[in-house]
Symmetry: none
Subunit: 500 residues, 2 copies
Amino acid sequence: MQVKLDRFKQLIAEITDLGRAEALLGWDQQTYMPRGSGEDRGNVLETVAGLSHRMFTSSEMGDLLAELAPYAESLDPESDDACLIKRTAHDHEKSTKVPTEWVAEFARVTTIGQMAWEEAKAANKFEVFRPHLEKVLAMRQAYANFFKPYDHIYDPLLDDFEPGMKTSEVQAIFNTLRPQQVQLLKEIAAKPVIDDSFLHIPYADQGQWDFGVDVITRFGYDWNRGRQDKAVHPFTTSFGIDDVRITTRFDPERAASALFSTMHEAGHAMYEQGVAKSLRRYPLANGASMAVHESQSRMWENLVGRSRAFWQFFYPKLLQQFPGQLAGVSQEQFYRGINKVEPSLIRVEADEATYNLHIMLRLELEIALLEGSLQVGDLPQVWNQKMGEYLGVVPAKDSEGVLQDVHWSGGMMGYFPTYALGNLVSAQLWEKMQQDIPNLDGQISQGKFDELLGWLRVNIHQHGAKFEPQVLIKRVTGTTIRPEPFMKYLRDKYSEIYNL
Amino acid sequence: MQVKLDRFKQLIAEITDLGRAEALLGWDQQTYMPRGSGEDRGNVLETVAGLSHRMFTSSEMGDLLAELAPYAESLDPESDDACLIKRTAHDHEKSTKVPTEWVAEFARVTTIGQMAWEEAKAANKFEVFRPHLEKVLAMRQAYANFFKPYDHIYDPLLDDFEPGMKTSEVQAIFNTLRPQQVQLLKEIAAKPVIDDSFLHIPYADQGQWDFGVDVITRFGYDWNRGRQDKAVHPFTTSFGIDDVRITTRFDPERAASALFSTMHEAGHAMYEQGVAKSLRRYPLANGASMAVHESQSRMWENLVGRSRAFWQFFYPKLLQQFPGQLAGVSQEQFYRGINKVEPSLIRVEADEATYNLHIMLRLELEIALLEGSLQVGDLPQVWNQKMGEYLGVVPAKDSEGVLQDVHWSGGMMGYFPTYALGNLVSAQLWEKMQQDIPNLDGQISQGKFDELLGWLRVNIHQHGAKFEPQVLIKRVTGTTIRPEPFMKYLRDKYSEIYNL
């Protein structure tokens, strides 16, 4: 059995390595690649991805996993080997159920779909995108049906991002959360609007870069095992535990954008930098799920980065960096400004109090589309209606409504809910952390983050993708994902800011 | 047969793609990779190199080549397909003699070796590098022995860079050349020393960068299909015909260094940018050999870049960029300064009259190491002794001696002689070009390089690696590589400068 185990680990390590080569090709494409080399890069990416897929779905891998499954049962279920075999078997089973023809066709449909979406968004014409979305949807329905029987057609899609999680679980959580968030929003809307005009004047790129670097260095982002570059869209990518890179961008009229995005990406990156070295060459050197990943980025961005304690330490430094822009702006005014609640049309610009409502809307639409109870042609109208219901704002044009996100055009269905789940997990972990680290706020207000990061390293990071998300959360906090800590966090924070 | 040909081309394209992924991993390692991620990168490089080797040496590839060989004979011998099959068959025969395990282990050893070399060079501690070089050497000896019987243990290594060339041939050329270069050097040494002090004062990095960019843009380097970054050791690397990148470095006290290095690398890069698009995804999208490659870099660096005609156009621009540093320096003084002959410690800073002597020293040491007549531990001492013998200068520290070049740490043995051969080829091509382009000097003195580049595109670049180097050189100049045009070029140039 040891020979089989070794061979399996060699094979999965090589597949992981190919994934990292692919990640570097992608990173380069978005940072430094010359414009003219699209054709060459497309060929190389196709080859590397194709090889890795062939190796993963090979009969050798299938046979090894079949033989190792009973052996894994005999191991300590928390051991690296048991988790690696189980997780790989799960992913392998999913991969082998999807025909190669579907994969090829899906790549074609989504490539064309993304181009149509770009055109539709630019021209504000949903009709241009509609037939393509219909094709994507039909293919996603076919995809789900490869995994029959299921409790819900959305389950196989969700499982790609949240292994083991069921649609019914997410719906139950969101159904509890939604009325409370809507209620909170109503109370805030009745209060005077906060002035954050000082955030919407030009801030020099270099100053934003330097301040962001100072912040995440103090957080504990390890520059010896990472770096930051500029890209059109901020992202985190890993080429191994010891090389986890982030990117950022600058909007001269929205200083807060780059700053919080840098903290957000550093949160993702510190997660992957913190995975145990023993998992180095395996797919377990990764986050447990998209929601757990997002819990890390949102925690550093919001629970840390938008807290009073944080700015107690950092506001004097920010003032030093931007004395002109922040002249006459008190620390309290600044704190209130970066926490201003304002229902808006665009998800990526949403504040903490409204963000999840954007997500819930999308999840409900995705489910209705997949179930067949909603036709693609009716999507814009239902989108606008729900926007009014949940957020009290209605887009005047589809480019600021149903056409705003790239996800569906690329076939990403099942991904959206992880954004909101990440917010919930961040607050749930934070609640536990407050019990375990008595003086957490005091430490933050002194710019000290080592105990916080240490807690995350021990409780979350080191495990990588060894455990399913719900198992991991329960292991750390005593329960699976629940909405109460996040709702309490929101209510406490905004009651104080808005004097509710 | 068409089915076989298509399958062969698909396979060789995928192998080429993997090589390009590998090249990107290498480029990143030398430009942007965080210090801490050597182990991860070593693993990924090992996997990609190993896979590509497995595919290349597979029985499928062997069978296809065996079946296609007679077919290739029926084709026009200058057709892409005939050349591709022939070249691949040659490389395949070599590769099948090298075990996959050796290739993977070599990638690992040289990745770690390069990091050790960087550390050793920075700390001036040969001992840090010694054990790694010993491993590399042992692996290179094992490599050569896969090709027994051979005339000389160095032959299989040389053949990797100069297909078909023998150690004895190179030694014969060098033996003809050496006394003539030594004689020329003696005559120059008897003349007054040229003042080039204005080159050894601080020049701002940015000004050097900008001037270099202007020069190679006028040469015809295509920025839409390439880029320049900083690295410890300047190099050119290709991720496809449409993505050929160069790197440079700055020495604030040696302005000439970055400038000529930029022209040198652009010469390499324009070669690969000029390969015919029909060869895009094949290993023929490459230089014919390292010597032919070096002929291109050295031509732009020296025959163009150190000529009177070149500076007639560019000196006024350089003066504008660095008015302080060059105050009171005439164009003639500058021309003599950049062509000053002075035996020095560093190969890459060597002038045209001494460069080949650096190469001869390295070739002799490589041969002695491989033969086993020289131990790695004795290398620094023998290096210093030979430097004294050939060039009359002895390094005070190993970082300026045996540790100066990256090559050995990356396992590149057999490569050095191609630098000197490249010098010979550049002069041989130049001689022919002077006949074909009557007003070449006049064009250069007007900053016009399109006819020059066009000649190279047609005669050299477009063919990529379709022809063996000696075949290509003979095709263009009428004879195989010979030392006379280079020696005549040197003597004419320095007779005039030094009034010999």
